[in-house]
Subunit: 157 residues, 2 copies
DNA sequence: TATTGTTATACTCTATAACTATA
DNA sequence: TATAGTTATAGAGTATAACAATA
């Protein structure tokens, strides 16, 4: 299962020889997919899915938004977001209100129940990853922090 | 949407002050999810989905494997893999053969068509990410390479 | 006519429970 | 009895196309 790169010892692997963008792209993609799945597997006890929580989290950070704004932010098509919004509304975690100026639009906002859930879920949701990160050296965490910043710029484009 | 951390300029953000594991966990998770979705959005022209390609890619790297082995590697339950295998078999990208010693088991292997598709798809699939990586500095790529190695260890646990 | 949101429809991915065949 | 794989069933996430309401 492991490639030649990952068969290195954990200690020696912390510093690697530079490699070209294509090879790094493959490794980074595979790792991102695995991390995504691993993170998702930690959420099985949650009341909401990863996608659903992402919407709640966005609303918590930014305040009310229209379905289209949320869909754009989450990089899904409007009908997909309509569905997710419907599920979250059924759970009474969000609510729809009419837009004050534009009758076509709808404003989605967190209910108190939704806001509470965001706070409680966040800690639990990140517990596994935080534990893993705690086992790393400060230098390794610094590397991940820097990488996160780079990736954030990259995915924002 | 952006936190105070990400509001730093791209240049100054390359070196960051250390922070605790919990905060890093949140940022890393959000970034991983966005990267995953961004990568997936680049695959719309592919003939196979991200999950399907992951199976083909594993078989290409490791050779024939049983459905259970593939399911474990992909971190899904056996019935889910049965379905994916069925779809890939319908596309004639993989084939099932009886296990030589154990009548219960099945060996899944790439067909020539599947092997060709893996090679062709890989380049196209990683083109977007490779382009992004090419725009980075060598030091940034090195940071991502080191981070990838750390994350690989982390997700392997 | 353009935009927002929804509905209709369909497909993939995933899971749990139950079943069949083999060890 | 235990294991490998599948089938049955269900739900979530996603998409495109078509529609209604509003600007």
């Amino acid at each position: 299962m492991l490639t030649k790169v990952s068969s290195q010892s954990a200690a020696s692997a912390r510093r690697r020889v530079p490699r070209g963008a294509p090879q790094l792209a493959v490794e980074l993609r595979v790792t991102a997919v695995h991390l995504y799945r691993r993170l998702r597997s930690e959420l099985s006890t949650d009341k909401v899915s990863s996608s659903q929580f992402s919407v709640l989290s966005m609303l918590d950070r930014q305040g009310p938004a229209t379905p289209r704004e949320i869909a754009t932010h989450e990089r899904v098509q409007p009908p997909s977001m309509t569905r997710t919004i419907g599920l979250l509304a059924d759970l009474e975690l969000i609510e729809r209100t009419d837009h004050p100026n534009d009758g076509r639009q709808v404003l989605i906002s967190l209910t108190p129940k939704g806001k509470t859930l965001v706070g409680e879920t966040r800690k639990r949701r990140d517990a596994w990853l935080a534990r893993q990160l705690n086992d790393l050296t400060p230098a390794e965490r610094e590397t991940l922090a820097n990488a996160t910043e780079i990736l954030r710029r990259l995915t924002a484009q």
